[in-house]
Amino acid sequence: MAEPSIFFSEVNERQGVFHRRMFLLGGIAGLGLGALGARLAHLQIIETQRYEKLSASNQFNFRLVPPPRGLIVDRNGAILASNRPNFRLLVTREDNSTDIEGTLKTLSTFVPLDEARQLRLIKDIRQTPKRVPVSVAEDMSWEEFSAINVRAPELPGVTADMGEVRVYPHGGAFAHVIGYVAKVNREDLTPTGPNSDPILLNPGFRIGRQGVEKAFDLDLRGKAGARKVEVDANGREVRQDEAGDIPSTPGKRIELTLDVDVQNRALEVMGDESGAIVMMDCRTGDLLCMASSPSFDANRFVKGLSGPEYRALAQYERKPLLDKVMTGTYPPGSTFKPTVALAALTAGIDPEVRIHCSGGWYWGGRTWRCWKHGGHGSQNMHDAIKNSCDVYFYQTALRMGPDPIAKAAHAMGFGQIFDIGIPGQKKGVVGSREWKRKAVKREPVWQPGDSVSYGIGQGYVAVNALQLAVMTARLANGKKALNPRLIKSVGGVEMPHGDDAPDLPFSKEQLDYVRGGMVAVANDTGGTAYRQSQLGLGDIQMAGKTGTAQVRSYAGLASRSSAGVTWRLKDHNLFVAFAPVDDPRYAVAVIVEHGGLGGATAGAPRAREVMRVALMKDPELRSRIETAMPMPEAPEPMEAEGVAPGAPTVTPAPAPAPAAPAAPTTTTGGAV
């Protein structure tokens, strides 16, 4: 510092102060930088692992991959519910500033999106949590899909991807049994349990709503996989890390006992009629058919039904949405008579004791009419079943009282809910003294007159189609109290068989006797359903029982004929049958709502058609059909049943069957 310019001592003092202070401030700056260095060392050396994890969780994201929903197949593996590819258009709200209106407007140039739908989508997207995609369009064509995929980078939050959508190849044929899947509602989501799974928020995810789809939803659902992707701060995918993917586990395959051909045929023969057809294997209890008519297309529910579409279904008087197999209950009418007969046999009533039918029976201050105005004449139990003689059963039921009948009815499966895996069964009613005391508050005492109508399946008795089929199958089986089975296997695990059941509380002779009556119904030319019950399959014969369930009071009406009556007021038409008579394999129950009087007209032909399909599909029976038939001789149709043929008598030509234009026929046996 040998400069000559410093000559003020004061200046030197200023310089000294400055130097001291400068060292001080320099020191502070040095300390500050040292603190930064220490902080760096702390973050980058000591805590680095923690931040590495945070960085990785920023960078990598797992995107859920919905698992393919399990298939539902029939007993032969034919597909009843599967999945098909679906090109979807998804919009994701990335933050609150995303211009949803603008995006949708742009998208409407690629796919049809009208104003109303845009408004609804805007609301949907706003309500959905951030970064959860919302489906804007489904089932785009390949052209639409590729056009949008090309433009997607310019459209923030828009992705087009390929998802899967549930498809029911048979449309409505299985709609009531299988049910359908539909969009997940806010109410479906629960904070815990299986429905807390985040996969439910996936736009393509559907939840089971009815039938098998609902009851086995968790089995069918499978387990979601994940795709490891690298994302940027906006959650947009940058890269895919395939090595980090977790594959999804497909849902379990569910095999039903149903048969596609039988079910389809059942729905076909029902046509426009309202009702149900249930078919059961008499040996195993497997349900081959559970058709409810009219039905609806389950595929439409997957997409989401519009308001008017839904109202049209819900308001139709034939109630397509109601499952008439399990949920609809009906008075069994004359189809209840075999059960009453079994009750009578158990109660020790001699079946050969004859009762005279003159077309009505005066008792208790009124006339109890038989369906046949002219009367059946002298009837034993066999004849009474064959002819469906009301007077015989009026008197028999009155003699027994309700409790033996109720006992028999329970043994045959009435008044009971079966564990077939899907919900929706109605128990129905099986009347008894005790039941009436509890259930009918207005008049708790069982009146003898109640027994009289009970005998012909009216009054305090209501059954569903499934119970009717179970009754028929148990009767046909002749030994076991078969249980119905609908679910054959879940994910390859066989479900318990229906024949793993206790024996019926009836002797073989008793069951044979009643079955003999039913054989006569269908094969005795005088039987109530002879003409409608001919299978035309070689020597295979069907046995059955007709039934009419009254829906209005006949008091004061001149005729019970349903001709010309409003549909809603017509009688229900029921028919139960099994075949072949000599070695029963299949039992069927048919209910035709408001089908008119007498099970033969509406019920029996349909039962026959469905039965034919099942029989022809059975390889064992197929060979029997194809063997040469002996030349027809004098008809002895009941020989096989081991029923003592009654003395053949010629009866007067029977009155025409009520609702069918009938030609007079001559019976050759059974009648007296």
Partner: protein, 384 residues
């Protein structure tokens, strides 16, 4: 050229001599820092010179030339323009209050035809020059404790309040702290210094609660508890710390920083570029960069100590203080030690205004070095 040759009268006024007198090691450190900035910008743009790296480098080149040019200007000229510059800066701050543009919610910009700039930047230089000139003219005793001190108090207070009102908390703090640094360097009494520190400590909590704008208060509060709102205000701090921490000792590698490449890091090319560098080059890179900054600061301080005039000393030291404050505030912010205030890392961050200010400041520092023997009058203004 020998040392003795420099003692010849007029020799030091020759341009060649002047250029040779510039601290070229210092200049090299500046180039390295700016180069590191460009390197990071190239990386986060996806290995592209656009949009930041090329512009950053060309700006730096221009500013570097400007710095050399300014270093040639005699200290007496700097002395002469000190008050006028301060006056213009103050006027413009008032003007911005009245007619300024509102950008990003703050009124900071003033438009001159196609150019727009922030008058607060002029003030960063203005306050240093004006205070240096003021202290140049008063005695050590006066600088220690006297009524004269009301003048620097007002000189610091006026721009600070105006800038704070824009509102630009970061720049206001910078101006005030630079001013205070010069006042302290000039020899303020320790009693006042300690009293001031005590008053500051007492005054800060009510200041934070009642004077700051909502967003500023929120920044301060989030800083105190960053986990309280990890996706909102705490997001910046948290993401920056993740970037730093995940870099580890050696870094993730050039171009491989997921935090910055995938935009998790906010303001990655400006205020948080240090975190970008930390992520890709780790502790080694960060430490080297801090070393460069320390070198720049201490070389500049040494320059100030060399000056013969009080004006030269104070102006060079004041400029250095501004620079050091930039580095410390930004560093502390990026590392989660200070609230998020809009203070960039000088020369490393993208942004023309701050680079221009800093390089003009270093132009002044080099001018002090080149003209360290110049006599500046002790009087009140006229050139000697």
């Amino acid at each position: 050229m020998t040392v003795s040759a420099l003692t010849r009268p007029g020799e030091r006024d020759r341009l060649v001599v002047k250029i040779a007198e510039i601290d070229w090691l210092f200049a090299l450190a500046l180039c390295l820092i700016a180069g590191a900035g460009a390197l990071m910008m190239f990386s986060i743009a996806g290995s592209s010179w656009d949009p930041w790296a090329a512009k950053h480098l060309s700006r730096f080149a221009l500013c570097f030339v400007l710095m050399i040019g300014l270093a040639m200007i005699d200290l007496r000229v700097w002395f002469a323009i000190a008050y006028p510059l301060y006056g213009i800066g103050l006027l413009l701050l008032v003007a911005v209050e009245v007619v300024g543009d509102v950008r990003m919610g703050a009124q900071r910009w003033l438009a001159f035809g196609p150019f727009s700039f922030q008058p607060s930047e002029i003030m960063k230089l203005g306050i240093v020059l004006a205070l240096a000139r003021f202290y140049h003219g008063i005695s050590a005793d006066s600088a220690r404790l006297s009524w004269w001190l009301l003048v620097p108090a007002a000189m610091i207070g006026a721009p600070t309040v105006l800038v704070m009102h824009q509102p630009d908390l970061g720049t206001a703090m910078l101006i005030a702290m630079t001013g205070v640094a010069i006042v302290v360097l000039a020899g303020l009494s320790w009693r006042i210094i300690f009293a001031g520190i005590a008053a500051f400590v007492v005054a800060v909590p009510p200041l934070v609660m009642f004077v700051l704008h909502d967003y500023q208060r929120k920044r301060v509060l989030t800083f105190l508890d960053p986990e309280s709102d990890p996706s909102g205000s705490g997001y910046h701090i948290l993401q920056s710390k993740i970037a730093l921490g995940s870099g580890g000792f050696f870094g993730k590698g050039y171009g491989l920083g997921s935090q910055s490449q995938l935009n998790f890091l906010p303001e990655k090319q400006t205020d948080f570029i240090f975190a970008t560098l930390a992520e890709e080059f780790g502790f080694l890179g960060c430490f080297s960069l801090l070393f460069l900054y320390a070198a720049v600061i201490f070389m500049a301080l040494r320059t100030s100590a060399l000056a013969h005039s009080h004006f030269g000393r104070l102006s060079a030291a004041g400029t250095t203080a501004t620079f050091a404050l930039y580095v410390l505030i930004n560093g502390a912010m990026v590392m989660g030690l200070a609230p998020v205030v809009g203070v960039p890392m000088p020369l490393l961050s993208y942004g023309g205004t701050v680079m221009l200010t800093v390089m003009i400041g270093f132009g002044l520092v080099q001018a002090v070095r080149v003209h360290r023997y110049s006599e500046v009058t002790s009087g009140k203004g006229a050139l000697m």
